[in-house]
């Protein structure tokens, strides 16, 4: 086996894993607070990609600079989805909870198709080709920046949840919805913000991914399932677990291409997903069921 190639893939895996981790943290946050699975998560990520793409084309603003705008736009999207749809279905039987979010994914995916067409679009930015040599391997600057920003965004989210007043309320609502209500927390509004934050996280991940990967409307499913895998790896509702899970999946997928065709790497994720669910459903780092 080629050691230099393996090292290269390892680096790439870690860097991509940071972005996986970021989107999964959003999914895990939404699950932790509301107990619902956001089946539209990947489609929201694609929306983040398109918004950042739009800003680049229309205003010439680099995706890394427009990150707050993309995240903000998807925050609003998430907030609206939570307040109009998800808050109404929290007490529904599970079959009825699954459908609206799946349908939301369908809507977002096809809106993207309507607005931007089925073509793959890949913007070229100033940084997309630069690379730093590192021994026998090289590190793409754009991947490195994406990774650093993903980690920074995740840390910022953690700090927000830990330190801010709203963050504390979100954690209270996640811990005990009824209890939070009893002490006067407006749980509906907190839910809106939590869903918005989860969505913003995945939107930001999308914006970070844009310079690395061409965007097309139908990418969403794959992103959603990737986020599932990571969240299950890390434990549902466990945010730190989601981050670590992202790194694990990034590395696994990347190294798997040493022995398998790249188009099969997803099978690795699904296989991993099934195995983890069966032998350790609480995830590697514990979570809530």
């Amino acid at each position: 086996m080629n050691l230099a190639l393996a090292l290269q893939l390892l680096i790439q895996g870690i860097l991509l894993g940071g972005i996986y981790g970021l989107t999964a943290v959003g999914l895990s946050l939404i699950f932790g607070v509301m107990g619902v699975i956001n089946f539209a998560h990947g489609q929201m990520m694609v929306m983040g990609m398109y918004i950042s793409y739009w800003i680049l084309v229309l205003l010439g603003l680099d995706p890394y600079l427009s990150l707050p705008l993309a995240a903000g736009a998807i925050f609003i999207l998430g907030y609206v989805i939570q307040s109009t749809v998800v808050n109404r279905i929290l007490d529904f039987p599970e079959a009825m909870q699954v459908l609206p979010l799946v349908a939301m994914g369908l809507i977002l995916e096809n809106l993207a198709l309507l607005f931007w067409g089925p073509d793959h679009r890949s913007p070229s930015t100033a940084l997309s080709l630069a690379a730093i040599p590192l021994g026998s391997a090289t590190v793409d600057v754009s991947r490195l920046i994406a990774f650093a920003l993903a980690i920074a965004f995740t840390v910022a989210l953690f700090l927000f949840l830990k330190k801010s007043a709203i963050g504390t309320r979100i954690r209270a609502a996640a811990d005990n919805r009824l209890g939070a209500q009893l002490v006067g927390i407006k749980v509906d509004r907190i839910n809106n913000i939590a869903f918005g934050l989860g969505a913003a996280t995945t939107g930001a991940a999308g914006a970070l991914l844009l310079p690395l990967m061409p965007v097309s409307p139908h990418l969403g499913h794959d992103f959603t399932t990737t986020a599932f895998v990571v969240v299950i790896l890390g434990g549902m509702g466990n945010l730190l677990g989601a981050l670590v899970g992202g790194l694990i999946l990034g590395v696994t997928e990347s190294l798997a291409t040493l022995v398998l065709p790249a188009t099969l790497k997803q099978m690795i994720s699904f296989g991993l997903l099934v195995v983890i669910m069966l032998i350790r459903p609480q995830g590697l780092f514990g979570g809530r069921r």
Partner: protein, 321 residues
């Protein structure tokens, strides 16, 4: 109740006579109505009656389509027999999936994710098998004849798909009234409480997924021989899995008439709006509307359309409940 059966009989008679007056395009829409009603009915057994949510039922459609087509192309086996072979394989796969899910206690969203994963694994695997055309799929040669499950025009497909819908619904109707069906419903309502009453929930959940997978795969064979083309994405994809659950949910989950009514409402809407929007260059618009409709139904008509139809027809049919 008797009047309800009378009404259904009359409707069936009308459906039997319809090909006399409809053109090919209209018949095609009816074929899709029956096809999706039958698919919804098959899914209904597992999710509507037994309460285990599957979002990966395309898995069984794909198995039905690929097995019968492969056997026909390789060994000249009639798709009618290939359909049974596909059914058996789908049952086996369904039981395997069920074993993992039910034995290891995966419930709710965990079971959903298991079903999605298995369907996706199958889609990716089939995409890499050259013997079945890998990514590009299989085109069927057109050799009309009953033996080949291929026909000129839409009339034979109309009657075959109608047969699927009617017989499938009848089967589910009988199942729902049987001991097995009632125990499945108990599992859906409250699995722990059912266990406490001596219901072997593993056994009946396995029965449900076996029946459901078998029924679903038969539709796969039909579909392959109706569109003459199968690809991993169209047969195993998540899109089909979502498509096939919308109708029973909109019509009424866990009822025999729900998938049928849901299909009669949604399928024409989807077919007509697809053609309409595609003409105006709005590819995908019909799916946006589809999604909006699904959300509205869940938010405001949680039990599906059937309940409202029943209420409206109550005085006419002298229904009990």
């Amino acid at each position: 109740m008797r009047r309800l059966y009378l009404l259904l009989g009359l409707l069936l008679l009308v459906l039997l006579l319809l090909p006399l007056v409809l053109d090919k395009y209209a018949l095609g829409i009816f074929v899709m109505i029956f096809f999706y009603a039958y698919l919804g009915q098959s899914w209904n057994v597992l999710t509507g009656y037994t309460g285990h949510i599957s979002l990966g039922h395309a898995l069984y459609v794909g198995i039905g389509a690929y097995v019968s087509t492969f056997l026909a192309q390789k060994f000249g086996l009639s798709p009618w027999l290939g359909m049974l072979a596909g059914g058996l394989l789908a049952t086996a796969v369904g039981l395997g999936l069920g074993f993992l899910g039910f034995r290891f206690g995966l419930r709710g969203v965990y079971f959903v994710i298991l079903t999605i994963s298995c369907a996706e694994i199958a889609r990716l695997a089939v995409s890499h098998i050259d013997a079945v055309g890998s990514f590009s799929g299989i085109f069927l040669d057109f050799n009309p004849g009953f033996y080949n499950f291929q026909f000129r025009g839409n009339v034979p497909y109309y009657y075959i798909s109608l047969g699927f819908m009617v017989l499938g619904s009848l089967a589910v109707h009988l199942l729902a009234r049987s001991r097995t069906g009632r125990l499945m419903v108990a599992i859906r309502e409250d699995e722990q409480a059912a266990l406490a009453l001596g219901v072997n929930s593993f056994k009946y959940s396995m029965t449900a997924i076996g029946i459901s997978a078998f029924m679903t795969s038969l539709a796969g064979t039909f579909y392959a021989n109706y569109v003459y083309y199968l690809s991993p994405n169209s047969m195993f994809g998540m899109g089909l899995s979502i498509d096939l659950i919308l109708r029973p949910i909109i019509g009424g989950l866990g009822t025999v008439l729900g998938p049928i009514i849901g299909s009669f409402v949604l399928t024409p809407l989807s077919e007509v709006s697809r053609a309409y929007f595609a003409k105006g260059g709005l590819e995908g618009m019909h799916l946006v509307l589809y999604g909006v409709l699904a959300i509205l139904v869940v938010l405001f008509m949680r039990q599906g359309i059937l309940v409202y139809i029943k209420r409206a027809l109550k005085p006419l049919l002298k229904l009990e409940d």
